[in-house]
């Protein structure tokens, strides 16, 4: 198996503002979001980071996508380090999260071309790929409508397509089906499997067990910023369901915390 992503001993601590201290009901000035997290993802697989809200999944994905920097540890994507060569990593990844929005003022068609240019995609290639992707997701019907006028599902489809304008081999999706209706969610998950079958490596974060069971090859359970279990989904769920496995670990971790 060819390793595409290696996350090594990742640590990230955030300073809490007074407001955040109040909302989290803590007097601690710092919050450890990711605490020595390590895992790998291999070519042609979907790896699922499973964990409750606030477990550190999104922070980990942000570090992998170079949006934020780790305090300790490193991430390599296809041999490029996020610390040493973040520009190189950005060229290799496609990143999609609910917090990444498109400008309402522009059309999907314009934004596709814009992001293709930012990713240095040759014009002819970009044009062919746009036609294929727009057709695959039915975007051509509303390609010339401003993003602000599209439904949430349509916007998510456009965001998905735009995140992979450069045909990356490694794709990161943070909560890929969050807030989507069942039809759009199915379109997205089917597409992820399609990408996997094309040999792409995909890392998703989610708290939905069924999504992991449906599309992931391997899974990592993250609780309190730590990787508590990492392995092949079939092996992990050989005796118990994923939900049972998760809550067994979660109970232990909660007990340890107490």
């Amino acid at each position: 198996m060819e390793e595409v992503l290696r996350v090594e001993n990742l640590k990230k601590t955030f300073k809490l503002s007074r407001k955040q201290q109040q909302s989290e009901k803590t007097k601690d000035k710092y919050k450890v979001a990711v605490d020595g997290l390590s895992f790998s993802a291999y070519r042609g697989e979907i790896f699922g980071l499973l964990g409750p809200n606030g477990a550190g999944k999104t922070t980990t994905l942000r570090i992998i996508s170079t949006l934020i920097k780790a305090d300790e540890g490193d991430v390599t994507v296809d041999g490029e380090s996020v610390r040493k060569n973040p520009d190189g990593v950005r060229k290799k990844i496609g990143f999609l999260t609910g917090e990444l929005k498109l400008e309402d003022f522009f059309t999907s068609d314009y934004l596709y071309d814009y992001f293709s240019a930012l990713h240095d995609v040759p014009k002819e290639f970009a044009s062919d790929r746009k036609a294929k992707l727009f057709s695959r997701f039915g975007i051509e019907k509303f390609a010339h409508v401003k993003v602000g006028e599209l439904s949430t599902g349509m916007k998510q489809k456009v965001s998905l397509v735009i995140s992979i304008v450069h045909n990356p081999d490694f794709i990161i999706f943070d909560e890929p089906t969050n807030g989507l209706d069942v039809i759009t969610a199915k379109t997205v998950t089917d597409f992820l499997v399609e990408l996997k079958n094309q040999g792409k490596t995909i890392v998703i974060s989610t708290h939905i067990f069924s999504l992991v069971e449906k599309i992931c090859d391997r899974v990592g359970i993250v609780i309190n910023g730590k990787m508590t279990l990492e392995g092949n989904l079939k092996q992990i769920t050989a005796e118990k369901s994923l939900e049972e496995v998760f809550f067994d670990i979660y109970s232990k971790e909660a007990g340890n915390d107490e």
């Binding site: 950005r90 929005k101 930012l118 735009i162």
Partner: protein, 385 residues
């Protein structure tokens, strides 16, 4: 009734526990105090008497009471007795003398005979000391006529006793008003586009979408600044044309203002200053926008800067029609633009000062782009929602 108080209490709590809202309540008062104090001291400096200045007053046929009365003004002056009125007027015009007071021949005798003799006070409005001493002496002679209950004919001729040429007066009025007005319009033009740009993208979540692409942060900063600058420059040109067109009416009649006296060189110079100033404003406002959590906060943070620009604009009036002649003054951003505009409009343009202004502004713009690129790399600022 209790529900009214419940709603009111919640609204007041929201206002008085939010530091930013509280600051927005206090800031205008503080700024008004600063600006009005500054303006007060400026007008006092401009039109008040200068204790160190020796005013040169020329007189013809002066009666005995005049020299005694002059002492009452407390001015530091020197009196020159003149015979040739036209020559003395020329001196006032050339600013080698500040005032010429011409009493009618046999002034005292005519007063004794119950006649109304004439007094002419010649001054030069573009020479600030002349304007100051004119005000003092005019008041003095008028008071004397009231005191002896015999009216003099004071500047009663049809001619203008202001010896400044129409061109000089026009240049002075333009120099006093235009740099100030332009600075405000240039800033507000840049503010309209730049404050929204990055803070708006942060608010809408579109900035992160850009930051995961392989574009260099410096390219992103420069691309944004160039686009914003083009928009702001266009807005500035429209404002400039509007100001030029409305200036004659603003200054009370088309006779006083003649924009046609400026050559193409002056207009090109003004254009150059406008461009570098607008780009500089855009860079500063983009940095503010990047540091702010929202568009609203960016606008609030930009307010003190706008007041500072207003103060700098007001300072351009201090010269009363001239520009700062010290070279280091042209290294100070914004102030240099204001002084350069003053120099251009007062027809005392110095190419060296213009060059220093443009080069120093370009250096500040480059520094601003570097800072903005750094900000794009700062997760604390970009995720500071």
């Amino acid at each position: 009734m209790s529900k009214i108080f419940t709603v009111m209490k919640k609204e007041l709590k929201r206002f008085f526990t939010d530091k930013r809202l509280l600051a927005s309540l206090l800031l205008p008062g503080i700024m008004i105090f600063v600006i009005y104090s500054f303006m007060g001291s400026f007008f006092s400096n401009m039109f008040g008497e200068d204790k160190d200045k020796k005013y040169i007053i020329s007189q013809i046929n002066a009666p005995s009471f005049f020299s005694e009365d002059l002492k009452l003004t407390g001015l530091n002056y020197e009196i020159n007795e003149k015979r040739d009125k036209e020559k003395a007027k020329e001196e006032v015009k050339e600013k080698t003398s500040d005032l010429l007071v011409v009493f009618e021949e046999g002034f005292e005798q005519k007063l004794a005979d119950g006649l109304t003799p004439s007094v002419e006070i010649w001054y030069n409005t573009v020479n600030t000391p002349s304007q100051t001493v004119y005000n003092a002496v005019y008041g003095l002679i008028y008071s004397r006529s009231v005191e002896i209950k015999t009216k003099f004919v004071l500047n009663g001729g049809e001619e203008s006793y202001d010896l400044a040429t129409k061109e000089e007066t026009s240049a002075m009025l333009i120099t006093m008003m235009l740099p100030f007005i332009l600075m405000i319009f240039l800033f507000t033009g840049a503010m309209a586009v730049a404050t929204e740009s990055i803070a708006g993208e942060k608010e809408r979540g579109t900035i992160a979408t850009l930051l995961v692409t392989p574009i260099k942060r410096s390219s992103l900063a420069l691309g944004k600044i160039l686009a914003l600058s083009i928009t702001a420059i266009l807005s500035s040109f429209v404002s400039f044309i509007g100001v030029i067109a409305s200036l004659p009416k603003l200054l009370g009649g088309t006779d006083n203002i003649n924009m046609g006296m400026y050559g193409a060189g002056t207009y090109f110079g003004v254009l150059g200053v406008i461009i570098v100033t607008v780009v500089l404003f855009t860079v500063v406002l983009s940095i503010i926008s990047a540091l702010a959590k929202s568009v609203k906060e960016a606008s609030q943070l930009a307010l003190p800067v706008m007041f500072a620009v207003m103060l700098v604009g007001i300072s351009s009036m201090i010269g009363g029609g001239g520009a700062n002649q010290r070279f280091w003054a042209y290294l100070i951003p914004v102030y240099n633009s204001s002084q350069c505009l003053s120099g251009l409009f007062s027809l005392s343009f110095d190419p060296l000062f213009f060059l220093i202004t443009v080069l120093s502004d370009i250096a500040f713009i480059a520094l601003g782009v570097y800072i903005l690129a750094k900000i794009f790399n700062s997760e604390k600022i970009i995720y500071n929602k």
